[in-house]
């Protein structure tokens, strides 16, 4: 066996792989173009539903104000309804310049005036770290590491005096720790989960990165980081080269963190600085527990709520007087039983659409044993409002349905085997994987009978094409299965690699290929070339 023979065995499968990959991508692009063209063809501006202008009575205006008010709690548990008067759009006033009206729970007006003059101090609540600038997630960490034609980026935390950068701490994603450099390029050391060390071997990784936020403390120009991994939260001060482990979850991964007054930054509004808050981090773990980490004094508490509660809307705040929980919920929340089935979810949403529903907020006090005591509750009904239902146009839906029938059934298999959750997780990763997930979702045939019928028709065509050219039954069956599995891309691959010339058999008159000596129908050999006068080879 030499290189010439060996290469044929490897080149054959690689040739099939190359061809089918290119043709799958080409088919997907063509399908995408057809579907997008149909969408553009059918695009029309949706006229807004014009509600008949009905003049509201004073009582109705008042009721609408109450419904559209924000619910705020005082530290003693009293609830106020805070209504923000509509502003002139062109003015774009600052928040504390907006006109407000405050009502009690019975709808009686208590106060009216500018926000900055508000006499009441409401409890403020922990919020998720969000926003492109404030939070840096694992998705963004992957994005900056993407190679791209401009190379990957690095995460660097400077240590600065007023005008000058004195040190730079660069994150090493492979080792999951920070490496420090002076301004002359020399190495300072390493910051890992155990703190600062000048030895590479002693530096321990932080763990799988999930999120961080950064702020400059009030006495420094250098950022301090709150660094979240799958199970831990650290606070890293690069100027002091200190790492503090704030929280560690022993049993399950951290799902979400909320901060309240944790970062030592300038107060946002004058009112905020009057209530004696305690810095607080709330960690929601995947087992549904809310872990509270507080300072002044340092304390940790784990709160378990009712399994039916909407965990993501629960907020906490801690003052020197106590710890409070704010919970809001609505009847218009998809029941957990329906979440796994898109069909049931759609039916449920169609049933509740356009009907009035209830919303409510509750304030609880959390005692030292993490028990909840209801302080106050407010509920109200949101009236039914008709709103335009945007449905896909009939042409686009049909075109999409038929275009997808030329896709490979493997898309459906990938969708069912890997599951929606897996593909959702991949959305947060690599752009290409995300692209593959979107193609799978948008172009899958949906297990349609038409898809299988088309595939069988293509197999039939491949049979009609391949039978006269047959060299081996095994190869022919392989190509039939290949065409069935890859649909249009499979048929095109088969044709690209197997379209060889055919001639008419001189004996039976039927089509036959040139790769086999004997005709597959009558067994006659290939016709020999005619002898000519100058035919030196045959004459000798």
């Amino acid at each position: 066996m030499n290189l010439k023979d060996n290469s044929t065995y490897i080149a054959g499968p690689t040739r099939i792989f190359t061809t089918v990959l290119v043709l799958l991508i080409a088919t997907a692009m063509l399908q995408g173009i057809i579907i997008s063209t149909a969408m553009l063809w059918e695009a029309r501006p949706i006229a807004p539903i014009k509600k008949p202008k009905k003049e509201l009575s004073e009582a109705e205006k008042h009721l609408e104000k109450i419904r559209n008010s924000g619910r705020q709690f005082l530290p003693d548990g009293t609830i106020h309804l805070v209504y923000t008067l509509p502003d002139i759009p062109t003015l774009k006033r600052a928040i504390d310049e907006r006109q407000k009206e405050i009502y009690d729970a019975n709808g009686s007006l208590l106060w009216s005036g500018l926000e900055k003059n508000r006499p009441y101090e409401y409890l403020s609540w922990g919020v998720m770290i969000h926003g492109y600038t404030e939070s840096f997630t694992d998705t963004r960490m992957k994005q900056i590491q993407m190679i791209t034609p401009e190379f990957s980026r690095s995460l660097e935390i400077p240590v600065r005096s007023r005008e000058k950068t004195e040190q730079v701490w660069r994150y090493d994603p492979g080792r999951q720790l920070f490496v420090g450099y002076r301004s002359d390029g020399s190495k300072i050391g390493y910051i890992g989960s155990t703190g600062f060390t000048d030895s590479k071997s002693r530096a321990k990784p932080f763990g799988r990165f999930k999120l961080f936020t950064a702020w400059c403390p009030q006495d420094s120009f250098s950022p301090t980081l709150l660094w979240q991994t799958s199970r831990r939260i650290y606070e890293i001060n690069f100027e002091k080269q200190q790492v503090q482990l704030i929280f560690e979850s022993a049993k399950s991964n951290i799902k979400q963190i909320n901060l309240h007054k944790w970062r030592a930054i300038r107060p946002e509004t004058p009112q905020d600085s009057k209530i004696p808050y305690r810095p607080l981090i709330k960690c929601l773990t995947e087992d549904g527990k809310h872990h509270l980490i507080m300072r002044n004094p340092d304390r940790k508490l784990t709160v378990t709520v009712d399994g039916d509660w909407w965990s993501e809307t629960i907020s906490f705040t801690a003052t020197t007087q106590g710890i409070y929980l704010f919970y809001r919920d609505t009847e218009r929340r998809l029941p957990s039983a329906f979440r796994k089935s898109p069909k049931l979810a759609l039916e449920w949403s169609r049933k509740v659409r356009g009907k009035p529903y209830k919303k409510w907020v509750e304030l609880y006090k959390v005692d030292n044993k993490a028990n909840l005591h209801l302080l106050n509750r407010c509920d109200w009904t949101v009236p039914a409002e008709p709103y335009p239902v945007v449905e896909a146009g009939p042409l686009w839906t049909k075109v999409r349905h038929y275009a997808c029938q030329f896709s490979s059934p493997l898309y459906d298999l990938a969708w069912y085997l890997l599951g929606r959750q897996f593909l959702f997780q991949l959305y947060r990763g690599n752009d290409f994987i995300r692209g593959f997930a979107e193609v799978t979702r948008e172009l899958r045939p949906g297990n349609s009978i038409l898809n299988w019928l088309l595939a069988l028709a293509m197999v039939g065509f491949a049979f009609w094409h391949g039978w006269p050219r047959k060299t081996s039954l095994g190869k022919l069956i392989f190509w039939f299965v290949f065409t069935l599995v890859f649909n249009l891309a499979g048929l095109l691959t088969y044709l690209a690699l197997n379209h060889t010339p055919i001639i008419k058999c001189p004996l039976c008159g039927k089509r036959r290929g040139l790769a086999q000596v004997n005709c597959i129908r009558c067994g006659a050999e290939l016709p020999a070339p005619e002898r000519g006068k100058l035919d030196l080879i045959l004459n000798t």
């Binding site: 190359t18 061809t19 990959l21 290119v22 600038t133 401009e150 950022p223 690209a496």
Partner: protein, 231 residues
């Protein structure tokens, strides 16, 4: 001896393209790098770092000073790959000189290895050496405020290898006996897919894995086509 003779012949034919690639990359890549050194870090970059404020996390991510040079490296590598692929495998087709080359006293594998070796040397010397020089220059803290990471150096070599992928794709397209409107350009199309899939990876290991798979797929078909087809 025959291999060396063939190698010298291929290198001689590739020399103009090697020199052109080296000059373009050194001139333009060096110019943009020098411009980056002159501009330095924009003064607004850390202007948001004042006491008692939340930091914009975008300001904490940094491109290396070789950012613009990287684009030129990729373009030069791919361009060199296309040029060498055309020179080695398309020109003999256009000038009908394949029989002269194939029917020498050297066997076909020797001829093919000579071409591939010439291509690899053509990437290492003009592009690779210049890349190493530019990277070393960018590591000087007295000139650049932000220094590049070691990963950037490896990514540069990845770009050079992508030029090799472009070369192999062009070679396969040249060796294919199919019509141009059928499957002749599949080699180039596959090379394009490999290049795109490689540069949008965020893990270096996966990027190299995609590259290696692409090279193996293309190389196996080139070897089969060159050794078995009739010229």
């Amino acid at each position: 001896m025959r291999f060396l003779a063939l190698l010298r012949k291929e290198l001689r034919e590739s020399l103009p393209w090697m020199l052109l690639a080296a000059i373009i990359f050194l001139a333009i890549g060096g110019f943009v790098l020098r411009a980056q050194a002159y501009l330095g870090q924009p003064s607004w970059y850390y202007s948001g770092l004042s006491p008692g404020t939340v930091v914009d996390t975008y300001r904490l991510t940094h491109f290396s000073p070789l950012r613009m040079t990287g684009s030129w490296l990729l373009v030069t590598s791919i361009g060199l790959g296309l040029a060498l692929g055309v020179r080695h495998f398309w020109m003999p087709l256009f000038t009908r000189t394949w029989p002269f080359l194939i029917h020498r006293s050297a066997n076909r594998p020797t001829i093919l290895w000579a071409k591939l070796a010439a291509a690899i040397i053509s990437f290492i010397i003009p592009v690779g050496v210049v890349w190493v020089a530019l990277y070393r220059y960018s590591c000087r803290p007295e000139i650049f405020e932000t220094l590049p990471t070691k990963r950037v150096f490896i990514e540069g070599w990845l770009f050079i290898l992508l030029g090799l992928v472009a070369y192999l794709g062009t070679a396969l397209a040249g060796l294919s006996s199919a019509r141009w409107y059928t499957t002749k350009i599949l080699g180039l199309a596959f090379a394009t897919i490999v290049i795109c899939m490689t540069i949008f990876q965020w893990r270096l290991g996966w990027a190299f894995a995609v590259l290696v798979v692409g090279v193996v797929v293309l190389l196996s078909q080139i070897i089969d086509a060159f050794l078995n087809r009739e010229f």
